[in-house]
Symmetry: C2
Subunit: 210 residues, 2 copies
């Protein structure tokens, strides 16, 4: 079976999958989709992801999209490869699933707006919208307050070990650490230690440097 990832540099969703592929120590072909040339809107790409968004993924005859579905597939299918990013015990895994949902439902909606306003807009010579920034920084602070409390009780969000619940945060955190939103993470000691820990994982370092 050959794994192919269709993605784009700078896409946080693509990076979520790359982070997981690195943790599972899996070889794959990276197919670069040039969004400036609208390659994500071609009929060929739309047959891979009908929403016309990166990433798309294939493993032999299986075709998937949606980054969090792809990481789950990799974690379960390649359970015996690389590092564990799920937990076998069903009750402990149910707790991990809660925090996977928290990232998806609470952390990401606020952060993806901040990544756009504070990361991409300045890069494209556009002006950040202060009202949107303020509103989403407030939402992020509420989420990080919950994380601070959670991480004072367990080393990682899902429990004692690093799992997908942590991994899914990595790309957005990478971008926000280069913006003024960094202070919101640094103001919370347990969050700050967790960020330093997960950012220094060898697989993540490999994912963002190769």
């Amino acid at each position: 079976m050959a794994i192919k990832l269709y993605g784009a540099a700078g896409s946080t969703a693509t990076l979520q999958v790359q982070a997981c592929l690195a943790e599972k120590d899996l070889h794959y072909e990276f197919v670069s989709i040039n969004m400036s040339y609208k390659e994500h809107k071609t009929p060929e790409f739309l047959s891979r992801n009908p929403f016309g968004q990166v990433p798309a993924f294939e493993d032999g005859d299986l075709k998937l999209f949606e980054s969090r579905a792809i990481t789950q597939y990799l974690a379960h299918t390649y359970a015996d490869k690389g590092n564990d990013v799920i937990i076998k015990d069903p009750k402990k895994m149910a707790i991990v699933a809660v925090w996977i949902e928290v990232e998806s439902q609470k952390f990401d909606p606020a952060c993806s707006k901040l990544v756009w306003e504070l990361g991409y807009k300045p890069m494209f010579g556009m002006t950040s919208d202060d009202v949107v920034v303020e509103e989403n920084e407030k939402k992020l602070e509420q989420v990080l307050d919950v994380y601070e409390s959670r991480l004072s009780q367990s080393k990682y969000l899902g429990g004692d070990s690093f799992t997908l619940a942590d991994l899914h945060h990595l790309p957005v955190i990478k971008y926000l650490m280069g913006t003024k939103a960094k202070r919101l993470f640094e103001a919370r000691p347990h969050v700050s230690a967790w960020v330093a820990d997960i950012q220094s994982r060898p697989a993540w370092v490999k994912a963002i440097t190769t």
Copy 2:
């Protein structure tokens, strides 16, 4: 083990879990959280869900929140009870996981705004914001165009059988069918047939009438 669901009437997230409990034919105690009295912001409730939102859930000594994490737990833990809502084959389940993510990432963000604007606001004597309605109807139409194509190829979103990927849509569809957004579903024949099919499931009828 005793299952308890802490929820509120009218909460779509609570109804997602109730739909799953009905499909799995599980008995449970419903603990009504009165949000008018801010019962979802008490220290006791915040210990169950630190975001102060319904639902919260317990099964013996296991405490969970986030509706989609709870349904996954029920589907896997009680695989031998009631109706199957997941698929054992890992590749087929990976496809189901894609459409579970589509509901969470694409369908729900647009629909939850429409439920608020077209469902709850009029009920509370508030005026709907036409700009927000138009914007989110457009987003919903784009999602339903993808669904129309998908459902012309497979009976359900995740494949040949009803799964969590369909079930998670039920509460929001229930509310939108009572609003002008109903026309967006009815304009698409495969979507319309799917809506009729999943809405008529005995477990769902039981969930919303008991």
